[in-house]
């Protein structure tokens, strides 16, 4: 690792490298060829790979995903770029009833990547859904939620070499985040989390945009003498519960953090699973931090209130450690 890149650039580089070596990969979506997508995530690929493999699509999310499903069955590895994953609501049958089930029903691999932004930024309720938990609950789907450029590149490469439908979720607020990225063979496997910050007192399990916020919260706690270990799950399907367990066996405390609505989300799975498997180990209840159950508002102060912040996470870490250690 030596090169530095933004998340968007890392994604593009991972995709471009794989496209160079695997002619079966193609990518399409609205405004991709010239503009390179809403986040510049495929900028320049049009001129490198041509109109056959980098396609502008009409605003037809269902057709894009359906075409991806059929093309994957007939030998391609399509990347459907929805720009915003919010538009996947228009392709939900294609994702859930088709892509996710075809291997189970028909025994065929389904190497299809569906990329979009997930989570909350400006723009109001309809472009800022957080529904990674839906996909994680659906049998047959893989879900990537990278928080660093290196993971973004490594995960898109794994997705493009795999056989499964992958929902590849990037965050609007992380698109410009810079960091080191790996080389052509630095793949990040699905289902393997990583420790972003070691700590002995409490474990934070999170992914995506709340990884940096959790690290910031851990920084706050450090100054109070509490060392939090921050785990970035990187993919939420599969979910690396073993890594979380290994950590909690040492820290005996767990806070699960999601940007998405706390109620009924994948954070509940993590909390429920660990509350069960580490019942005898935990020194206190598993706490969860997540958004309240409201849509994303437009107004900035409302939005801030509806989104978990580093302060919210720090508060939960304090509650988890204070209440029980004594």
């Amino acid at each position: 690792m030596s090169e530095r890149a933004t998340l968007s650039q890392a994604y593009r580089q991972g995709l471009a490298e794989e496209m160079r070596t695997d002619p079966r990969i193609l990518v399409y979506g609205t405004d991709l060829f010239e503009r390179g997508g809403h986040w510049g995530q495929v900028r320049g690929l049009g001129s490198e790979f041509g109109r056959d493999r980098v396609r502008n699509a009409p605003i037809s999310e269902a057709a894009m995903v359906a075409a991806g499903v059929g093309a994957a069955m007939n030998g391609l590895r399509p990347v459907v770029d929805l720009n915003f994953i919010d538009f996947a609501f228009g392709a939900m049958d294609e994702i859930i009833n088709q892509a996710a089930k075809i291997r189970f029903m028909w025994g065929a691999p389904m190497p299809l990547v569906i990329r979009g932004t997930n989570g909350v930024a400006g723009g109001g309720a309809q472009h800022n859904n957080s529904f990674e938990s839906w996909f994680a609950h659906t049998p047959g789907l893989l879900v990537a939620m990278p928080s660093t450029p290196a993971d973004t590149k490594g995960l898109i490469k794994s997705a493009l070499r795999g056989e499964d439908p992958v929902i590849f979720l990037m965050h609007k607020l992380l698109a410009g985040l810079r960091g080191e990225i790996g080389g052509a063979e630095d793949l990040v496997p699905f289902g393997r989390g990583t420790v972003r910050r070691p700590g002995r007192d409490i474990t934070v399990a999170t992914y995506g945009v709340t990884v940096p916020r959790s690290i910031a919260a851990a920084g706050q706690l450090a100054s109070e003498g509490v060392e939090a270990e921050v785990i970035d799950l990187r993919t939420i399907a599969p979910l690396d519960l073993e890594l979380v367990e290994e950590s909690v066996r040492r820290t005996r405390h767990l806070v699960v953090v999601t940007e998405s609505q706390r109620h009924g989300g994948i954070g509940a799975e993590i909390a429920a699973a660990l509350s069960e498997s580490l019942y005898d180990v935990l020194d206190g209840p598993v706490l969860r931090v997540g958004a309240p159950s409201v849509p994303a508002p437009h107004s900035a102060p409302l939005l801030a209130r509806a989104t978990p912040s580093a302060d919210d996470i720090a508060r939960s870490l304090r509650a988890a450690t204070a209440a029980r250690v004594s």
């Binding site: 269902a62 057709a63 995903v65 069955m73 029903m105 699905f190 699973a273």
Partner: protein, 348 residues
């Protein structure tokens, strides 16, 4: 099947079909394929009623000619997708009746080991990219298969079958549009059998002209008598040639009629017995072909009867095979959901 049950009163009204240019081999092949479908469907239906086949069934009796005419215009490597009503397409595409029957029974010997069943038949190795439980969805898969054929220049053509009901699924028009603007080797075949479950086509389809709708999306659109296998074949062959030649998709609306209910058990209160009888009498596609073959002396009566006997034996053997096949091991239900281990806990 009662095709050989002697002279019948309706025979007079049966509309002949034009078999000019059709040789004996072709005629025999069409007839065998259509008779097999008829026999398969009429045999399977009571098995559903008896509960020996679980999960219901949508019979394609009356619609044999669309499947046989269209698939007859395809190469083996070409691709088809179907709807919930797709036994005819499946048999026409060369899936063996005994294996299909086993799949309907939910047996391990089915091509999908019992996972798919009647509404989700498929065999990718044979270019059968799935019948589909969701109205309109199969066409989307055919679209994608055509995209892959176009990008990788395999020379394949994909055919997506839909029903008249699918004309009101918006996504269908997205699929048609994308094929149109990307000039994909796709043939869309709409089997308009005048009903979607109980709902008459005209009641819910603004404009009342599906091919007309299609032409608004920038591709050639035709109507054809879907109960005339030769007519279906001719128009399908032209569309397939066009697709294979890189000229893009074609939309074919095939007018047809289902003889039975929407699904097994349908009480059919929404149409009269008379209406059904008229369609049968005038345009039963199997009888029309059989009669026209005889009239044109393309095959001798004995040859036709021989085919009837053969398909009857084939389907009887299929039931036998299905009945005697083992069920899949329940534990295998957890296998092959994804290519990698999802590390799910607590799977029962």
């Amino acid at each position: 099947m009662s095709l050989t049950a002697g002279p019948d009163a309706e025979a007079a009204s049966l509309q002949p079909i034009d078999l000019s240019g059709v040789d004996a081999e072709q005629a025999a092949s069409w007839y065998r394929s259509m008779a097999l479908i008829r026999e398969f469907e009429t045999t399977a239906e009571p098995l559903v009623m008896q509960g020996r086949i679980p999960g219901g069934m949508h019979s394609a009796v009356g619609q044999e000619a669309t499947a046989v005419g269209v698939v007859g215009a395809l190469a083996a490597t070409d691709i088809v997708t179907g709807t919930h009503r797709s036994h005819h397409i499946t048999l026409a595409k060369g899936l063996a009746p005994d294996l299909i029957m086993a799949e309907l029974f939910g047996k391990a010997t089915g091509p999908l080991g019992g996972r798919g069943g009647h509404m989700h038949l498929a065999d990718l190795s044979k270019g059968h990219f799935g019948s589909n439980g969701i109205v309109g969805a199969g066409l989307g898969i055919a679209l994608g298969a055509a995209l892959a054929a176009s990008v990788t220049k395999t020379g394949q053509v994909a055919v997506g079958f839909i029903g008249d009901g699918a004309a009101n699924i918006g996504r269908v028009w997205e699929f048609v549009n994308l094929a149109s603007i990307w000039t994909l080797p796709l043939v869309i075949v709409c089997e308009n059998n005048l009903y979607a479950v109980e709902t008459p086509f005209a009641q819910v389809t603004g404009g009342g002209d599906i091919a007309g709708r299609a032409s608004g999306f920038g591709l050639p659109a035709f109507k054809v008598d879907g109960r005339d296998v030769a007519a279906v074949y001719r128009i399908a062959a032209a569309a397939v040639a066009r697709a294979r030649g890189g000229e893009g998709p074609t939309f074919i609306e095939a007018l047809t009629y289902r003889h039975g209910g929407h699904d097994v058990g349908d009480r059919e209160t929404y149409r009269t017995k008379d209406e059904v009888e008229r369609w049968r009498a005038e345009s039963d596609p199997v009888l029309r072909l059989r009669r026209s073959i005889a009239d044109a002396a393309l095959l001798r009566p004995a040859a036709l009867e021989g085919i009837d006997a053969e398909v009857a034996a084939q389907v009887a053997a299929a039931v036998e095979f299905a009945e005697s096949s083992p069920y899949p091991d329940p534990a295998t239900v957890l296998d092959n959901v994804t290519g990698i281990d999802m590390k799910i806990r607590g799977n029962l």
